[in-house]
Symmetry: C2
Subunit: 354 residues, 2 copies
C-alpha cells in the first residue's frame, strides 16, 4: 500500500483543526457535562416501525415545541442537537462568525470546520458583553452571524438584555444587506429568571433563538430547535439533511414533553440545588464561585488541576475549564445527593491543599 | 417589522438550492422508499439514562460493525445516516465532487449546500459507468471526491467491478496530491451477489466505503458508517459533531445487530421477492423492468405519471423517478403480501391504460 498523506488532501481549514474530544472519565458522581440528573417517567413508548424512515419534518414534535414557545410550527426547525443547527446556520449564511469569549466552544469549532472566519471578542471583567468592542468588531468585520449564549457557558451568567438588544438593533438598522443575524443560544434559559428572546422575534427579522432538550433531561436524544422568522427557517431548511432526527428521538421527545409538570419540578429542583451549591461553596475558603443563571456553577481555585484531580480520585467528575477561564472549574448541579457528595469531596480536597 | 430579504443573506450556492422534499403520501402499501419491510424482534432494550449525552465515539456499535466488516474500529466512522457522512466528507475534502447520473440525489444536493462544484457524468446505455468519459472528467476537473453508488439507486444494477477498479487505480496512481478519493456507497450491497469493496481498502489508500442500516430494517435509527483507512477516518472525524448519533439509536442498533440470523433471513426474503417482482413484471405487457441487485426494481412504462397515480388511487405508493430516468418508476420489494397487492394493482392499472 502506497504511503499517502490524507491530511494534505483535507481543506486547509481542516488540516489545523483538531477532533473535538468529549472527555470520558470513569466516576461515581458525574457532574461535568451540564446534563440534567433526571430523565422523564413517561418515556416508555417505543416505535414499532424502525424499518421506516423518520418523519422528515418532525411535525408532531415541532407542533409541541411551537405551542410551548407561542410561535407557529413554520417558525421551528428541528436539529440533531442544536450543534447541528449551528452547523446548518454557518453552512447557510457563511462567515465571518462573531462570538464573545469564553463561550460554548462549538461556535468556533464549527466555523473552522466550515472554513469560515472567526471573530472572538473577550467578555468584560464581569463576564458581560463588552458592547463597545462588539459594535466596533461588527462595523469592522461585518459578521454574517453573531452567536450569544445567554446564560453563557461556561461563565453561567446572562448577558445584560439591553446590551444584547443594542447588538440586535444595531445590526438590524444597518443598510439592507449584508448585515448580521444575531443568534441567542438559550440552552440554559430554563434555569434563569431572565426572559426568553422568543417574544421579540416578531419585532426583529435578524433575531434567531436556539433551544435544546439536552439540559432539561433528554441529552441522549439529541434534539435542538431553531426558532426564527419563516424566511430564515426556509433558507436553513435547504441545507438540512431530510432525515436528520431519528424516529426514536422524535417519539420519545413527544411523549416526554407531555409531562410539563415533571419537567418544571426537575428544573425547580436543579435551580434550588444550584443555589445551595453556590451558598455552600461561598463558605469554603480558597475558592470563588461565580453567580449562575444556568444549571452549573463556575468557580475559581488556586490550583485547578490539583482540585480537579483530587475530586476525581474521590470519584467526582467535574469539568476543568482552565483552557477557557484561568484557574476555573465548572460543576453541574446534580441531584441533592450527588451535590452533597461533591461538596464534601470539595471541602476535603481544598483542606488537604492548605 | 422591517421587510428584510433573508434569502439575499444566504450564500449564493444556497440561494439557488431548494429544500429536499421527502414525499409523504397516505397509502395502504408503502413501497416507495427502499426501506426494509421488517424491523428486528430483539429490539426491546431502552436506555434508562436519556438525561446523559450519548457515547460520542459509539464504541460498542463501531466494534460490532468493525467485526462484521473484518476491519478495526479505527477504520469505522459513525454517522447520523450515511447522508451525514457524505456531508462530512465534502466538508473535509471539498470539491469538485464527481458522480455518475442518474444516481442517489444527495451527492449533488450536499455538494451544492456546501458550495462545492459538481461534475455529473451520464451512465452508458446499460446504466454502467462510462469509463472513458469518467477518466476524461477526472483528468480535466481533478475532483477531490468521486461517489459511486453500487448497486446504484435508482437504476438497481451494480457497476462493473473492473470499471470501478480502473477509476480507483487511475486516481491512486496520479501524482501524490491532490488526487481523488473514491467513495463506494454500498447501501444496497447486502442485496447483491457482487462482492463488497471493503477487503480492498488495505490495497488502495484512496478507497472509501459507505454502509448503512437503513435498507436492512433500521431506517428509523439513522445510522451510516464510513469504512476507510485510519488517516481518512481521523481527518473526517474532525468535522463530526461530537454527539452525532443519539443514545437510543446506538443501543437499539447494538441489540438488533446481535441477531444476524434474522437479518439474513429478511435479506433473503427481500432478494427472492425482488426476483418474483421482476419475473412477474416481465409478464406484463407495456412495462419494461430492469434487472436489479438492490431491494427495488426500476421499470419503464408508457405513461409514468398515469401509472403512478393509478397505483396511488389503489393505495399503493411507489416512487416516480421520471425526473431522473425518463418514463421510469421504482418499486421497493416489500413483504410477499405487499408485493402481491402491488402486482395486482399494477396489472389493473396497465390494463385500464390499454
Amino acid at each position: 500500500m502506497k504511503n499517502i498523506n490524507i491530511s494534505l488532501l483535507a481543506k486547509p481549514n481542516i488540516r489545523s483543526l483538531r477532533a473535538y474530544h468529549a472527555e470520558e472519565v470513569p466516576c461515581k458522581v458525574k457532574l461535568d457535562a451540564n446534563e440534567s440528573p433526571y430523565s422523564g417517567a413517561r418515556v416508555k413508548k417505543i416505535l414499532q416501525t424502525l424499518n421506516r424512515y423518520p418523519d422528515p419534518e418532525a411535525k408532531q414534535l415541532r407542533k409541541i415545541i411551537a405551542e410551548g414557545s407561542r410561535v407557529k410550527p413554520e417558525n421551528i426547525l428541528h436539529g440533531n442537537g442544536s450543534d447541528e443547527l449551528i452547523y446548518y446556520l454557518i453552512t447557510t449564511f457563511g462567515g465571518p462568525v462573531l462570538y464573545p469569549v469564553p463561550t460554548f466552544s462549538m461556535y468556533g469549532i464549527i466555523a473552522q470546520a466550515l472554513g469560515e472566519k472567526k471573530i472572538e471578542v473577550p467578555l468584560d471583567n464581569k463576564f458581560d458583553l463588552d458592547i463597545e468592542k462588539i459594535l466596533a468588531a461588527i462595523k469592522r468585520y461585518k459578521p454574517k452571524l453573531i452567536f450569544l449564549s445567554s446564560p453563557n457557558n461556561p461563565t453561567g451568567n446572562c448577558f445584560s438584555s439591553d446590551r444584547i438588544l443594542k447588538i440586535v438593533e444595531f445590526t438590524y438598522s444597518l443598510p439592507p444587506t449584508p448585515y448580521s443575524l444575531v443568534v441567542i443560544d438559550e440552552a440554559y434559559q430554563p434555569f434563569s429568571k431572565t426572559k426568553s428572546f422568543v417574544p421579540l422575534l416578531g419585532k426583529y427579522g435578524n433575531l434567531l433563538v436556539l433551544r435544546t432538550l439536552s439540559k432539561i433531561g433528554l441529552a441522549g436524544l439529541r434534539l435542538g430547535f431553531l426558532i426564527a422568522g419563516e424566511s430564515v427557517i426556509s433558507e436553513v431548511n435547504k441545507v438540512r439533511l431530510p432525515f436528520n432526527v431519528n424516529s426514536l428521538s422524535q417519539a420519545v421527545a413527544v411523549e416526554a414533553l407531555k409531562d410539563k409538570k415533571q419537567m418544571r419540578r426537575h428544573i425547580s429542583s436543579i435551580i434550588s440545588e444550584r443555589k445551595r451549591l453556590l451558598a455552600e461553596m461561598r463558605k469554603i475558603e480558597g475558592i470563588t464561585p461565580y453567580p449562575s443563571d444556568a444549571n452549573f456553577v463556575l468557580f475559581k481555585v488556586n490550583n485547578a488541576e490539583k482540585v480537579y484531580n483530587g475530586l476525581l480520585r474521590k470519584g467526582v467528575l467535574i469539568r476543568n475549564m482552565t483552557g477557557a477561564v484561568k484557574d476555573c472549574l465548572r460543576v453541574t448541579a446534580g441531584t441533592p445527593g450527588e451535590n452533597t457528595v461533591f461538596l464534601k469531596a470539595l471541602r476535603e480536597v481544598i483542606n488537604s491543599e492548605n
